[in-house]
């Protein structure tokens, strides 16, 4: 059985690749830099005696997705699932971000993922037991002045995964979506976070365990479920005032 992991070169993606390989699954791993992919491939093949293929691709480009994943040689018949621990952030991301950067953020965090899923549906007509696993962000809970486009894309992605669960075409697929808070990856490295970070090792174990559940939508770390609830209950005007006080 083979899993495709998009964004496997670092952080959660690398940890997922390690976990799925340890459980003796073949992998197709993808990310931008071929050097990281090759290092991961060697490591996993040597340690776990599995087969790993690398696809170096820029996931912000729909053309590259078509030309590097959806090719004649791609082993669609062997694929058991696809995971999207992928994302992009820009330090300058705000509501007035330039359109080129905005497009990149939208693509890597939302459009490229939904495009890939749509294409997979075509190749996997029955979809029986095929897993589609997405990862959102708690930044999508509410609008924000920094990482605005990233947050908007992640909220769109969450909505898209919910839609998959309602869609008749995907009824045989296993659809899972994890809304992620702070994780112990380089994205949070050196940042003064007020709340504890979740372990990507723990998360990878949870994702693997749930991989064949028909539908799953959850938070990681779990305490974000409570924060989500509070944010959804409180009027936005109160949150804005509270935010202004904190930022003073």
């Amino acid at each position: 059985m083979t899993y495709l992991i998009i964004g496997a070169s670092s952080g959660l993606g690398r940890e997922l690749a390690n976990k799925f390989a340890k459980e003796k699954n073949d992998l197709i791993i993808s990310s931008r830099d071929e050097r990281d992919l090759k290092a991961i491939r060697s490591d996993l093949e040597i340690k776990y005696k599995i087969n790993v293929k690398c696809i170096a691709l820029d996931f912000t480009s729909i053309n590259e997705i078509d030309s590097k994943i959806f090719t004649e040689n791609f082993p669609f018949d062997q694929i058991k699932g696809v995971l999207f621990p992928v994302g992009m952030m820009f330090e300058k991301d705000n509501p007035l971000l330039d359109s080129e950067s905005m497009q990149k953020l939208l693509n890597s965090n939302f459009l490229s993922i939904s495009y890939t899923i749509k294409k997979f549906e075509k190749y996997l007509a029955s979809g029986k037991n095929f897993s589609i696993i997405g990862f959102g962000s708690v930044s999508g809970f509410l609008g924000r002045k920094i990482n605005s486009i990233y947050a908007a894309s992640k909220r769109a992605l969450e909505s898209y995964f919910e839609s998959l669960a309602f869609d008749e075409n995907f009824k045989n697929f296993n659809i899972q979506f994890y809304t992620l808070g702070y994780l112990d990856t380089n994205l949070s490295f050196g940042k003064d976070l007020k709340l504890p970070k979740g372990s990507i090792l723990t998360l990878s174990k949870i994702v693997f365990k749930n991989r064949e559940v028909n539908f799953k939508k959850t938070f990681f770390p779990k305490y974000w479920a409570l924060i989500y609830l509070i944010i959804k209950v409180l009027p936005v005007s109160i949150i804005r005032k509270f935010s202004a006080i904190i930022n003073k």
């Binding site: 290092a39 340690k47 490295f189």
Partner: protein
């Protein structure tokens, strides 16, 4: 200096003698390693931060932690070659190689030490009398340098930089991966024989007599008073002949956390030494021991270091010719009588190799002393420093964080050569640690 992917933190040398606020980064991709290096003026590499002296940090350098680069890149069972990233720990390396009954014998004293750290320090394990230092097992290195980019180093390619990098205390650039020539290991267990010794002279004789091509020999000696000085045990570890299936070592965790109050003092050291010595006298002289206990003797005994408290300790490791050993020890004892230092550990082993550049390596006896970090002990150690020239002693700058520039220049005869070649290679001297700055390397 604060940039993306960096953070400020307080860092201490393992012996706790130096603590500084440093900038720290931990890249996890090749591109990030390159970008961070290009954007930093001064850099130094850090692994598990278990080096006794401050080799992995400095106030002005960005400490680049390479532990995310911990993958096995190539493995050739037939040729007994393995290429691994420098952030891999010895625990991870051995968990893989021992399954194939292969290893490198020059293992540093703690399992969570990284490959990069061991190469930069030219580590030598218990078997250094037979196998020399880790230099002997290295086939090639992949180095990244801010100004030179990616460089393959080996005896055939960039030989001079290869030579500078092994034991070059991380000053030539970031060691990213290393290829080792592995050796076959007959078993994962050892037979340990112990010999009781009444004094230093007897201890030295046993070490030299029992040295052969298959055993690791080292001693534990008392140094808690002059009357019992040198009394102790010599251990001889031989690899067993019976090969049993290798069971992976459990996940290692650093358990180093100094106690608030130091617990080592003259009374506690004496008590522990007496108990340890007499316990060893009444127990079997020959027994089978597992790999971890023999190779990583301090794993599970981290309390020994924690007992030094927040002020820590200072380790002095000295290489001395066996012909000069007796006279040196006599003078040592005279100074001991006068200054009454508090020594927690005293050990002797044999070493083989060739001294060059800033490497701690030679065909000599290797003596180790651990001292409580106190003014009285520092004064005693400074008096011992004065004997280095007379007895042609080489002190370890990896272990002893207090070595002065003057002592270093006098004892490391080839250090000028190292400095000149390093400056020639890197005129901006990008990679600098607290030690390299103090010793003006």
């Amino acid at each position: 200096m604060k940039k993306q992917y960096t953070k400020e933190k307080k860092n201490s040398s393992f012996d706790k003698s130096i603590s500084l606020n440093i900038f720290y980064t931990k890249p996890d991709k090749y591109k990030l390693l390159e970008d961070i290096s290009f954007n930093s003026e001064k850099i130094i590499n850090i692994g598990s931060n278990l080096s006794y002296s401050p080799l992995g940090f400095s106030k002005e350098s960005l400490s680049m932690d390479i532990r995310k680069f911990n993958r096995i890149l190539e493995f050739d069972l037939k040729e007994k070659l393995i290429k691994v990233e420098a952030g891999l720990t010895f625990h991870e390396l051995l968990n893989f190689t021992l399954k194939h009954n292969l290893w490198i014998p020059q293992l540093p004293g703690y399992p969570s030490i990284t490959i990069g750290g061991a190469v930069a320090a030219n580590s030598h394990g218990k078997s250094c009398a037979i196998h020399g230092s880790i230099r002997k097992s290295i086939k090639s290195i992949l180095l990244f340098h801010k100004n030179h980019g990616w460089m393959n180093l080996s005896d055939k390619e960039n030989k001079e930089i290869f030579d500078l990098t092994v034991g070059g205390i991380g000053l030539t650039g970031t060691i990213v991966s290393v290829t080792f020539k592995l050796l076959k290991i007959e078993s994962h267990t050892f037979t340990t024989k112990k010999f009781i010794t009444k004094n230093i002279d007897e201890c030295k004789k046993i070490i030299l007599k029992e040295s052969d091509q298959s055993a690791f020999i080292y001693s534990w000696n008392r140094a808690d008073d002059l009357k019992n000085f040198g009394k102790g045990l010599v251990y001889k570890n031989e690899i067993n002949n019976c090969l049993i299936d290798f069971k992976e070592f459990p996940k290692f965790k650093n358990k180093f956390s100094p106690f608030f109050i130091p617990l080592w003092n003259k009374i506690s050291i004496k008590m522990i030494n007496i108990i340890f010595f007499y316990f060893n006298q009444i127990t079997k002289p020959i027994k089978d021991e597992d790999f971890i206990k023999v190779i990583f003797p301090f794993y599970g005994k981290e309390k020994y270091f924690n007992f030094f408290g927040k002020k820590g300790f200072i380790e002095s490791q000295l290489l001395i010719d066996e012909m000069k050993f007796d006279a040196f020890m006599e003078e040592f004892k005279i100074l001991y009588t006068k200054f009454k230092p508090t020594i927690t550990l005293f050990s002797i082993k044999n070493m083989s190799g060739k001294q060059k550049f800033v490497r701690f390596e030679d065909n000599k006896l290797c003596i180790t002393f651990d001292y409580i970090n106190s003014n009285k002990n520092l004064l005693f150690m400074s008096k011992i420093d004065n004997l280095y020239n007379k007895y042609e002693i080489l002190p370890s700058i990896i272990k002893d964080s207090r070595i002065s520039k003057e002592t270093f220049n006098k004892t490391y005869k080839y250090s000028y050569d190292f400095k000149n070649k390093l400056k020639e290679f890197d005129k901006y001297r990008v990679y600098q640690s607290e030690i390299s700055k103090r010793l003006e390397i």
